[in-house]
């Protein structure tokens, strides 16, 4: 039971490097860099000062404004400075740096929460907010905002997004296999907060092991009750199957109106990692200080899935994965389709970092751009039904008004057009530029 969305492309999955490797025990670094803006919205406001001692899980920056998210110390130690440093998406972002003292205990003392059924909706929501939970799929939108729909809108369907359509990444798949029951507990909380009665767990059909694990956990779970139904849906492997609007369309056949939100059609989509983080926050009182990251690519010695403290520098992670193999041509934070290539390895893992790719020259060869031959491949690839080549010419000629009328704002930058273009035109760059000019 699944519907189709228009468009999409079929890049090679390349997931076999890591999809059967269990998540490694948390890597605890000596030093972390925690940017104040790891999420969509306003940056958090620091509540500690340089030189102050902090404990693992201590609040160090508080959310400010409606769309924002708190930041917690991911290791115990001393705040060495609050200064600018590069992050995966910004060359200069205000960050809190923490250095660990030798011999310090870095385990977070968690405590089981009493009884979940006693907690009210508002109480759960504030737990989620205070734990600094954001969407872990990549966009890092604050979760509590997503779970509180605007007035007059209600949520009837929750979709747990385990599609993981980006090639190479396997962190969501491993979380589903290893933490299936916990993900379901997280789902239960999301359903309770959102007031939804239906839930779906969306998994692409190249991850049937994850679907099987979830299915088994579901049999034992109490989330499936007369009042609510939870179904596991296997979707066709196709990029961008895991995009929010596309996964809703594929499962419920509802279309989020252009410029609208999933809440407009009664849906909320949460990544499996987010569901797991919600479980940890509510059941264990653990803020978001670590996440599962896939380290992969042909230029790293030991590709792996590893639990990582937020703020760990990628250069430290490279050491944990046995170092680099040969020459890495590109280091990409995120997946190969939408991820951001880095110019330095001294950037931290942030909340939205699902993977770090170390690609060799052979994996991502340079192609020479040539002129558009109007083949229409980008139209067939665009999941939003846009005409990338026309938009490209409009943006190129500075005709931003016309680009807006042709719907450039609907583009969510999945990159399917650039992937498919036989002339190798960086179409999505033009879309991004056109959107920025609106």
């Amino acid at each position: 039971m699944s519907y189709k969305f228009y468009g999409g492309v079929h890049p090679a999955c390349s997931k076999t490097l890591t999809n059967d490797r269990p998540v490694k025990k948390t890597f605890i670094p000596k030093k972390v860099i925690l940017p104040l803006s790891q999420h969509t919205g306003l940056p958090a406001e620091p509540v500690v000062e340089a030189g102050e001692k902090v404990l693992v899980g201590q609040l160090i920056a508080k959310h400010s404004g409606y769309i924002s998210s708190s930041v917690h110390a991911s290791i115990g130690g001393k705040v060495s400075s609050i200064s600018y440093s590069p992050t995966p998406s910004h060359p200069r972002a205000l960050s809190i740096k923490i250095e660990a003292q030798d011999g310090e205990d870095q385990e977070l003392i968690t405590q089981k929460h009493p009884d979940i059924s006693q907690l009210s909706k508002e109480c759960l929501l504030s737990v989620i907010r205070d734990a600094g939970i954001v969407g872990l799929g990549g966009a890092a939108f604050p979760t509590y905002v997503k779970l509180s729909p605007p007035k007059g809108k209600s949520i009837d369907t929750v979709i747990i997004n385990g599609a993981e359509c980006e090639p190479y990444l396997t962190c969501d798949q491993r979380v589903m296999i290893e933490k299936a029951a916990e993900v379901l507990n997280g789902l239960e909380i999301i359903m309770k907060v959102g007031g939804a009665r239906n839930a779906y767990i969306a998994i692409e059909d190249n991850k049937l092991s994850a679907a099987y694990a979830m299915e088994r956990a579901l049999e034992k779970s109490i989330v499936h009750s007369p009042q609510s139904t939870v179904k596991i849906v296997t979707l066709k492997t196709k990029y961008p199957q895991g995009a929010e609007k596309q996964v809703i369309k594929a499962i419920t056949n509802r279309e989020v109106p252009a410029g609208g939100l999933p809440a407009d059609i009664g849906c909320v989509v949460q990544n499996v990692g987010t569901a797991f983080a919600i479980y940890e926050a509510v059941y264990l009182g653990k803020p978001l200080i670590e996440r599962v990251v896939t380290l992969t690519g042909s230029a790293i010695k030991e590709p792996m899935n590893i639990s990582v403290r937020i703020g760990t520098l990628i250069s430290d992670l490279v050491g944990a994965a046995g170092g680099l193999k040969g020459q890495a041509a590109k280091v990409i934070v995120g997946g190969p389709m939408m991820g951001i290539s880095q110019y330095t390895l001294d950037v931290p893992v942030v909340k939205g970092t699902s993977g770090v790719l170390f690609l060799s020259k052979a994996d991502c060869p340079d192609y020479e751009e040539s002129v558009c031959i109007r083949c229409g491949a980008c139209l067939d690839a665009c999941p939003m039904g846009l005409v990338p080549t026309t938009l490209m010419y409009l943006v190129k000629n500075g005709n931003y008004e016309a680009a807006r009328d042709s719907g450039v704002a609907n583009c969510f930058e999945c990159g399917a057009c650039s992937y498919e273009c036989p002339a190798k035109i960086p179409l999505v760059d033009y879309m991004k530029f056109g959107k920025a000019k609106l």
Partner: protein, 321 residues
Amino acid sequence: MSDQLTVSIGPHLKSRKTTKGIMWAVTLALVPAGAAGVYIFGPNALYAIAASVISAVATEARVLAVRKKDPGAIWDGSAALTGLLLAYNLPPGSPLWLPAAGSFFAIAVGKQVFGGLGHNIFNPALAGRAFLMISWPVYMTTWSAPRWAADAVSGATPLAIIKNKEFAAMHNASYWDLFVGNRGGCIGEVCVAALVIGAIYLFVRGYISWHIPLSYIATVALTSWIFNGHGGLFTGDALFFVMAGGLVLGAFFMATDYVTSPLAARGKIIFGVGCGLLTFVIRKFAGYPEGVSYSILIMNALTPLIDRYAFPKWFGWVRKK
């Protein structure tokens, strides 16, 4: 090591499909039809094809040099493809300067004047053919029958015979003859079987979609069946009209030319139906027996207009209230 990292905007993976690959695949798909033409009409057809391709590539190289463009662009295959397609649209017995002149016009005027690959309004090969048709109509309508036929010089095309109401002369050209190419016609259009093989290859590789060929051929078949019979409405011989002229070559290899056809699926269907209607009108009412090339050229001119109105539906598009 960080000074050796490449920084670029995603996606960092790209499909293997390239412009060059597509052009050479289409060229490859046309080889069976050309081979069949050479087999049917003898070595003259081969010389004509060679003259056309060489002239096209040479013209492209010269014009690229004049325009100070990358001379390596001749290897993208588009010029060779234009030359090949033009030759396929010529009578087999034509003197060699004819394809050479046609290819020169096709590349220099049909393509490069508009800005080169990707910018031309008209299918260059068909523009070249139209130029030859206007300039040297006698050469362009002197047909030869297959080399094994008795009257190998004046073998008119099946459509011309029909046009001149000599239907009786046609009864010995069976569907099978039309299908395998045992008849008069242009070099590349006669062997429907070979064209279909090439077209299937392009479909399987995903280089052409069904929209234009299907809507084009279906429109011609339907209109011919309804209006083109001798016994009133609904007596036309649809299969004959589909296979007799250059329709199969045109529908699969020339109307589908990326540059000069609409982008969106809906636009492609409008384009195909338009080509089909024009082909029927020209065949039935105009002075020429065949209308495929002119109908495609006319629809080429309408392509920007079609593109303006026929675009895909936006995801989540809602009518403004």
